[in-house]
């Protein structure tokens, strides 16, 4: 699979939120305003790309050579938790301004399905190291795209006269549903037509 195909697949066709539902909790929870949506989106993109590369290394240098693949889930989640902690410390030291904008989202990312999800999918599909990294990056970008679009819509919805029963989460789900409907236009046929 070429890199372009991987990017199109995870940003549009299998968009992590609108098609796979991974990362749904922060998608609903942190999409109320544009600023924090952008922050969360970039934080997730960063972690998914680094995490899928790191878990690839763990899988191929540790688990497979020692025949420990049954410890996959437990080691991946620990690697991700440690990585998130590490990133948080580095960002805190290196760039306090970046920490201010991303910092509060970082601890939440460990339990974001998208990070463990793309790591497991990349390993399951037998990607090589670079492909895993690109898949992680693309999954994060897909999350970023969906959460930023969502936050723009929700900022407008906030001023609308919505029935009480639908205020907050319910209308957010219905909005996401309509977005998912639009994203159905991107399917495997698109990839076949573009790349052949």
């Amino acid at each position: 699979m070429t890199f372009i195909a991987i990017i199109i697949t995870y940003v549009f066709i299998n968009n992590f939120i609108l098609n796979q539902f991974m990362g749904m909790c922060p998608f609903i929870g942190v999409s109320k305003d544009y600023e924090s949506a952008v922050g969360m989106g970039f934080a997730v993109t960063f972690v998914t790309s680094v995490a899928s590369l790191a878990t690839w290394c763990v899988q191929h240098f540790l688990l497979i050579p020692f025949g420990l693949t049954y410890l996959q889930t437990i080691t991946f989640i620990l690697v991700i938790a440690a990585l998130v902690q590490f990133v948080e410390m580095v960002v805190h030291k290196v760039s306090p301004s970046l920490y201010k904008s991303l910092g509060i989202f970082l601890p939440l990312i460990t339990t974001n399905c998208a990070v463990l999800g793309i790591a497991l999918i990349a390993v399951g599909k037998n990607y090589n190291a670079l492909e895993s990294f690109v898949a992680g990056l693309a999954a994060g970008l897909g999350f970023l795209l969906a959460i930023v679009l969502m936050s723009c819509i929700r900022e407008r919805l906030a001023d609308e006269d919505i029935p009480k029963a639908f205020k907050g989460a319910p209308i957010a789900f219905i909005t996401a549903s309509l977005m998912a409907l639009a994203f159905m236009a991107f399917d495997a046929a698109l990839l076949n037509n573009l790349i052949g």
Binding site: Y70, A188, A189
Partner: protein, 185 residues
């Protein structure tokens, strides 16, 4: 200070070790079962789609569309090939097991693994789905477009064109692969 750090590290390590030990134990019990049920599922499928003849040794595929194949012999001559084919569906990879005559004609096929939408692409799992492909591949081409099907068949696959394309492309590829093997072991 150092003492508490060591104590924390030790406790965390004990938890990790106990967890890993428990998993190794469960894995020891389930791993043979997993392997056995996988082998059984393949054997069942093989016996369903094999008509007559003896199934030979497993041969590695070409790394593209064919995962692996089995030559089928009848009194020492190769008559058929059973191929494990890989393709892309709507929800993910499709794995199809199919029986071809040496001239490329499709005898039978079965969808082994898929992630298709229930009610649409999932229908390809049912046995009648493959009927429209049977007998094609040699004198008549494998139907890879809706227009190549009878109206009733085309109706059934509407709404799940990508699954249909995935299945038919795999079968077409398999048919060509069987032709190329052309009766060789």
């Amino acid at each position: 200070m150092i003492k508490t750090v060591i104590s924390i590290a030790l406790r965390l390590m004990i938890i990790c070790l106990v967890a890993a030990g428990a998993l190794a134990y469960v894995n020891g019990i389930t791993a043979p079962q997993v392997a056995a049920s996988k082998a059984q599922a393949e054997l069942d499928a093989l016996s369903v789609i094999n008509q007559a003849g003896t199934i030979g040794k497993k041969v590695e595929g070409d790394g593209a569309g064919v995962n692996y194949y089995f030559p089928v012999t009848d009194n020492g001559t190769v008559t058929n090939y059973i191929l494990s084919l890989k393709s892309q569906g709507y929800g993910g990879d499709l794995i199809i097991l199919a029986n071809f005559k040496a001239n490329g004609e499709i005898i039978d096929a079965k969808l082994m693994e898929d992630a298709e939408t229930p009610g649409l692409g999932k229908k390809a799992e049912e046995s009648w789905y493959m009927n429209k492909f049977k007998g094609t591949g040699a004198s008549t081409p494998v139907p890879v477009k809706k227009t190549m099907l009878a109206a009733a068949d085309a109706d059934v696959i509407s709404g799940a064109t990508i699954t249909f394309t995935g299945v038919s492309k795999a079968l077409e590829y398999g048919s060509d692969f069987a032709k190329k093997l052309g009766g060789q072991q």
